[in-house]
Symmetry: C2
Subunit: 346 residues, 2 copies
DNA sequence: GTGAAAGCGCTAACAA
DNA sequence: TTGTTAGCGCTTTCAC
């Protein structure tokens, strides 16, 4: 293994100069710098990160805590993070939130991750756990949107990125009303007691628009509360068994909506003639279903990029802040007038 | 930050004993061990990985090189790796193969990753680059399947995991023949010159079964050669413009097949009555399309698990080896007799 | 069975 | 402007 010292010897300078050239931490005269650069590439010298981390107390490694990568949503977010991270020499390490929280918290601390981004899905740390990480120098960015993330925010200072669905949901409900819909169901996928922005927006607009507010229309998930296609399938069936007169189904996300499409098809119902279906996230898959899925265009890569930028800011010692993004509603063929054959294609 | 030394002082032993207890590297008397354990948990001591890595020359970090996470395929594989990795204290770091290969190779070396798993999609390193990594102690496992991976294997010793599609494709072709199909297209998504197992299996069986071997039926992708739904959509349209008489489309993967479904629908063709469609990978999404997609059940999580296990073996100094998995064909509604209205549901 | 001590390769404060 | 040096916290011989 080639070390800084060998480079220094060959270039006839001191090891410190090599560091200074590589990190730009101090001024080095152009000719020396050039000579050093040359020797570095001749020898193919690559600094050892473990040594650097040990000395500098920074690992330039961040964690991304996700419930699952089976939802391409998180893949897109991860890619957004990676995009920003790699330009700054950071790497993104995946942490799948499975098993004991203490287990992966230990890994975060052990690895001295500089920070973590946690979206607001399906995991909750105790204030003590968060404080444990924070005291070890881990910075947080949280995807704000559920009571989990609200809890997190109360426990420890962090930057937040939140997605404001109100405009998109308002647009959706306006279209639903114009289309003559009055009974709109929501598939939440989660525990009933969890407050979550998309569900809350739904409930709020149902009341505001005077739609049917039968609690049976707000369908919760089942343990272990994942929010994938099979969950949407299961919950749509559940819904149809209690309220077969539902005219529109709004799902927590596109995958659940895709599952609902299947359940409706199997029940012999046509979409959108009999029931309209609306998803959320605008996965590229939502364009390829039949009918194409009306949805909300969550800017996934952008969320990842912003999260990484907020982390970088925190590392530079800047103040925590809160960023809000405003996704738009995307009208496609799965949404039309209630009990009507008008089909708006895409 | 709590260090080993503080634990040692409080427990009244030497720092070395702490290490011995934690790593089980040497025998420590039960009572001492117990005392040490107690102090460790009292203090919430977590060892510093950077220091450990520096001293031991192992980071217990592996990289997973992927073209994109937009295909849930890779998410599933990554989860499989993670599942095995976390039990052994390893972490999996994502490396998206975008931009200059030298850039992410540097990151792999810099971070002293113990090993990397590279699937065989869409990236190719030079022998020199591979040797560079190998000489720095990076171990490889490659997903064997394309000329890229064959090249890799020639250049450097590594373990290989390969997916043998021959049985599944034979089954598919047998069904196609029984169904009266004679003109089967393949959407490869890749450069025409790349040899890739699934494409090769297709070509081989086309000849073997005496089907139409018009080269126009073997549709290549377009730069930058991704293999997502939009690529399947584009290439299916391309196909329909030159060979509208195709009776079955076999796509490189499920996402491309889903894109093809859309192109067919837009062209006014019914699936499977007019054209049958077959994917590959058995993403859970393939069950939720309409009609449900016939596909090949690639064991994604298992591939990830095996890859991680092969890496762990290599770290223990065991010999490299080659593992083969044999996915099965999954018959669903998108495949039926040629020009026939018989629809096998699922 | 337990401990002392010499690194691992780098950063950063200080000296020259 | 460049070099010297003292750690960073751990692993790992090698003595005791």
């Amino acid at each position: 293994m080639i070390t800084r010292r060998e480079v220094a010897e060959k270039a006839g300078v001191s090891p410190a100069t090599i560091s200074n050239v590589m990190n730009g931490s101090k001024y080095v005269s152009p000719d020396l710098a050039e000579k050093v650069e040359r020797v570095i590439s001749e020898l193919g010298y690559v600094p050892n990160r473990a040594a650097r981390s040990l000395a500098s107390r920074r690992t330039e490694q961040v964690g991304f805590i996700v419930p699952t990568l089976a939802n391409p949503y998180f893949g897109d977010v991860a890619e957004g993070m990676e995009e920003v991270a790699r330009d700054q020499g950071y790497v993104v390490t995946l942490i799948t939130a499975e098993g004991e929280a203490d287990r992966y918290i230990s890994r975060i601390i052990e690895r001295q991750m500089d920070g973590v981004f946690m979206t607001d899905f399906g995991f909750n740390f105790t204030g003590k756990q968060l404080e444990h990480m924070r005291s070890r120098g881990v910075r947080f960015v949280v995807g704000e949107g559920s009571s989990y993330s609200a809890e997190t925010y109360r426990s420890v200072p962090c930057s937040r990125i939140s997605i404001d669905y109100s405009g998109a949901v308002l647009r959706l409900f306006t279209l639903l009303r114009e289309g003559g819909h009055r009974r709109i169901a929501f598939l939440s996928g989660n525990k009933p007691e969890i407050s979550e922005v998309r569900k809350d927006e739904y409930s709020r607009r149902v009341r505001e628009f005077g739609f049917d507010d039968d609690p049976a229309l707000l369908v919760s998930g089942e343990p272990p509360f994942s929010t994938l296609a099979q969950d949407g399938y299961r919950d749509a069936r559940k819904l149809l068994s209690v309220r077969p007169d539902t005219t529109a189904i709004f799902a927590l996300n596109d995958l659940m909506a895709i599952g609902a499409l299947r359940a409706l098809r199997e029940a012999g119902l046509r979409v959108p003639e009999d029931v309209s279906v609306i998803g959320c996230d605008n996965l590229y898959l939502s364009e390829t279903t039949w009918p194409p899925l009306a949805t909300i265009d969550t800017p996934k890569r952008q969320v990842g990029r912003i999260a990484m930028e907020l982390l970088l800011e925190a590392f530079r010692g800047e103040d925590f802040r809160r960023v809000e993004v405003h996704p738009e509603f995307v009208l496609r063929g799965s949404l039309s007038r209630a009990r009507d054959t008008l089909l708006r294609n895409r």
